[in-house]
Symmetry: C2
């Protein structure tokens, strides 16, 4: 269910990655990451739909518009969101991009910057500028990929990187995110890199939306969203002179994106269980996703799982408040292998097996069949434990 | 901010209330409550909008339709929701109503039953029937009102009853609710009794919706809703021969309903703070309420308050994901008396006063001015503490 994170992350041809510590985190931990493409690549992006946006969102949008969607590098810092920092924050981000562009010998607008961390503190710009040389050098290290994944972590407990080789090339993805996780949009940072052509700008953007709808849009930790959410896809620039735009390798990218999405849920703040919410028998995939999200955001469902309680009542109740038609009297609910609710009635004899599943597995599954059709969707979340409270009562996001 | 709960709850003329223990709760605690009207009164009701509904909702709807909205008694049991119990559950509820009707010498359809507690367990019907005589007798006790309030408690830590006298008569309200609390609809049980005429059926129903929109619809504890939510208004039956239908005493009823709503938030599961979310400067009251609800349901805002952190970043972020237009760069945010965010920028010098407010007050307030107009709304919630998790991981609702 959870694909292991590799110790050495392979990069697609033409890409390098690295990370250094510049003192934003304590104890010299990695906090500054860099993705470099040897030649300009095409970039597609999705940003937060929150009305409050970090300075980097403004700068990324501007640079992508000016460069025609061409990118040489993506600079990422953790620990500081550069959000609610006004015009100064935008200038700080642009200055970092410009300084890096000089080192890479490319136009400023071909460098993007992404920030994540505490809202409202000024970006320690000088600290970042002082470490750019070391950062560029770090992208040639063999462990550059996993270092990049480490550098972008905030409350994550482990780095998130997945890389798959295919005949046509390689797809490598990085993500970070552990709290403030909820669809609409990505609610975390994710970077997908590939040497497989993804077609022209419009084709690739459409593909990225589709990939995201089936990955990050189906993860929820706490129903909150961040002002800095960003998903970036970097891929070989299509030759505008050729009209045979390649179709994007959607399936390959979706695999990596979903593997990362499950890791984000598994590493949810305070989580002790990765929970896959399986919705079946829906009239449409959209209906299934809506019901899945409501179940996956229910604090009562999530605390029941923390208590190892196969509480079908809370699952049906949560489904019942999604604005989707179904007859609870015909619904089925399962917890792992145990069908604990059948045709509107509890099946108490099945509950011990459900409780066992919650007790013994690290990755658990709960599900509901709505009896309305044949559409399905999975949504990923985690249980809600007292540790979530401790992390968020004491940490300033 | 929080009106004290009286030790002896005065009832409006013509009403009695009482409670007994029939063994649903352990240790002989009160678990069966009764409201009796000496003459049939008019009843208006609002029920849960969850697709899963308790048996009592089905029975109440049926009885109100048959009786033309006339009621002599309301029987309430806690600890068992009689929900997901199929046709047997409906028959159990009708049998309890019938047995009580016999004792009160009225038609069965003039008795309503309301249940709250664990979902999916069969209603211990015989236990309830065996205690009806004692229950009717208990309504003549001087402490019958507060006993009724105690009998309907589930995870509540104190009974919730408010009574106000006016020149025109008296309004008395009872409520229970502590978790699974979220608008849409009432998300708890509430009973409003008055000897003030509320006009004909249509007038009273319209008034009840309006009262509810400004009270229970503005409380949220955990964003979850229950299949058993019920709000009942009992009032003197209007004389159909007279056309001068009295206007309902909306203001008097709203006062009582809001006082109870605040108590429900204050007594939210695991709560250490009652939080009033003040939204100002909205384009409409509806906008203000929507923004207020998103802030009030944000786990990050609620854990920050548990941590006594005047975290304006989480408040603006939460407001930013409500689907309501505003410019975060023009917004103001306060925590108690401290304006911690002004015109899109933090005001760190104000934060210590905000932290002090959260530390020292039991009833705290946080607010945002959207700068879009002059409409306002208050929403009530509580902080999110580790105790919420412990209560819900270990308790089967």
């Amino acid at each position: 269910m959870l694909e292991p994170i590799p110790e050495a992350v392979e990069m697609p041809r033409g890409f390098r990655a690295g990370g250094v510590g510049c003192g934003l985190k304590a104890d010299g931990e990695l906090d500054l990451g860099l993705l470099v493409a040897e030649e300009p690549v095409a970039a597609n992006a999705l940003f937060t739909q929150n009305r409050l946006v970090g300075a980097h969102v403004t700068v990324c949008r501007r640079h992508l518009a000016t460069s025609g969607g061409r990118v040489r590098a993506v600079l990422v810092n953790s620990k500081n969101a550069n959000c609610a920092t006004g015009e100064t924050g935008v200038q700080d981000a642009v200055a970092c991009c410009a300084a890096l562009a000089q080192r890479l010998d490319c136009p400023t607008e071909q460098v993007l910057m992404v920030s994540t961390g505490v809202i409202g503190a000024p970006l320690p710009r000088q600290r970042i500028l002082d470490h750019l040389d070391a950062l560029v050098a770090a992208t040639t290290e063999p462990n550059g990929g996993i270092d990049f994944a480490r550098a972008i972590m905030t409350t994550d407990t482990y780095p998130k990187a997945i890389s798959h080789a295919h005949d046509a090339g390689r797809v490598t993805g990085f993500a970070k995110g552990s709290g403030m996780i909820h669809p609409d949009l990505a609610t975390m940072l994710a970077f997908y890199l590939t040497d497989q052509p993804c077609g022209d700008q419009a084709t690739a953007q459409h593909a990225l939306t589709e990939i995201n709808d089936r990955s990050m849009q189906r993860v929820t930790v706490d129903g909150d969203t961040s002002p800095n959410d960003t998903v970036l896809l970097l891929h070989p620039a299509a030759d505008p002179a050729r009209s045979d735009a390649a179709p994007a390798p959607v399936a390959n990218l979706t695999e990596v994106a979903q593997a990362l999405a499950r890791h984000i849920a598994a590493d949810g703040e305070g989580a002790s269980r990765l929970v896959t919410v399986e919705v079946r028998g829906a009239a449409s995939e959209r209906d299934a996703m809506i019901v899945g999200r409501v179940i996956a955001t229910s604090p009562l469902v999530k605390t029941a799982i923390a208590g190892r309680d196969p509480n079908w009542g809370r699952i049906v109740s949560a489904a019942g408040r999604a604005d989707i038609a179904f007859d609870p009297g015909a619904a089925r609910v399962w917890v792992g292998p145990a069908e604990v609710f059948r045709h509107g009635r509890p099946a108490p004899e099945a509950e011990p097996r459900g409780a066992e599943h919650l007790q013994n597995e690290r990755a658990v599954r709960i599900g509901i069949d709505l009896g309305m059709g044949s559409a399905a969707a999975d949504v990923w979340t985690c249980d809600l434990t007292a540790d979530y409270i401790h992390i968020n009562a004491d940490y300033r996001t």
